[in-house]
Symmetry: C2
Subunit: 157 residues, 2 copies
Amino acid sequence: MKNFETMSYDELLKEFKGILKANALKFTKQREAILSTLYNNPKHFTSECLYLLVKQKHPELNIGIATVYRTLSLLEENGLVSSISLGAQGKKFEIANKPHHDHLICSECGKIVEFENEQIERLQQQIAEENGFILTDHLMQLYGICSECQKKRTKGD
Amino acid sequence: MKNFETMSYDELLKEFKGILKANALKFTKQREAILSTLYNNPKHFTSECLYLLVKQKHPELNIGIATVYRTLSLLEENGLVSSISLGAQGKKFEIANKPHHDHLICSECGKIVEFENEQIERLQQQIAEENGFILTDHLMQLYGICSECQKKRTKGD
DNA sequence: TAAGATATGAATATCACTATCAAAAAGGTA
DNA sequence: TACCTTTTTGATAGTGATATTCATATCTTA
């Protein structure tokens, strides 16, 4: 897969158009609005949350929530966005124009910190090989209490 | 928390009864049926899947799916079962009478291989600390193609 | 720019899970 | 054991996130 790390918006858009063409899909205003909103807000979005933001930034499109779901699936299938499942807190999406990273999540406030660790990646590769697997992907989420929520706790009680 | 690794079913049952008593909850045939089914089938169950198996093994109980959900939550809250979220493949439960481990999952056939790696755990702890988090839990799933599915692929095409 | 395709938004359906509720069962107590 | 109180149960309805349907709108390319 391509590495989107250093991609400008124009390059990303070109990539997206290429994917659409290759699959006989159409380039629409809605799809672009969603892609650009994701690109310009490098946060982790809920589908709902992204829907509201796109609606706000592009009111003339009168975008529907179904289109947001459909487009997110499309983008994820093609590696342009990635998602993490936070169980009770829902599924969050982010644009995949950053280097690979994993997530450290606060169970109290939902804050997400990104990190990367080469050493763990190597160990994962090794584990897969030992078990006869070809590693294609991985998911690593660390859960804990962030420093702010730790402070709140001691105050609160 | 207690380590359930070497626990016999009798010990597990005793533990469960203790938890129930401590919370003023009752020991019922349904709850026991679910616990024993989990214990005797050391696999990863979907709620639905476990429901069907308990129904089959204990038809006289006429168990309802709601009870399965309720009991799984209860068992998970008390550390007797643990769960993993497999995204599209749903949430799966297993009895927590094994040492902590993570999962290596085949994206083609859904096969799950368990593994543990001390070194990764230490690195995770370290990452959490560096970011001011108190680590409470983690989720690590490696996705890949298992050796069997690799063989099928080369044959198939 | 017309033809033939896909995409869209609104509404509806689905899926996993949760809440509600009347009836049943558990487990103290006498 | 019989009673009494509380919790649990199964059935069912409800929920929220996501998927599907369908008539209309929009894109692409010829």
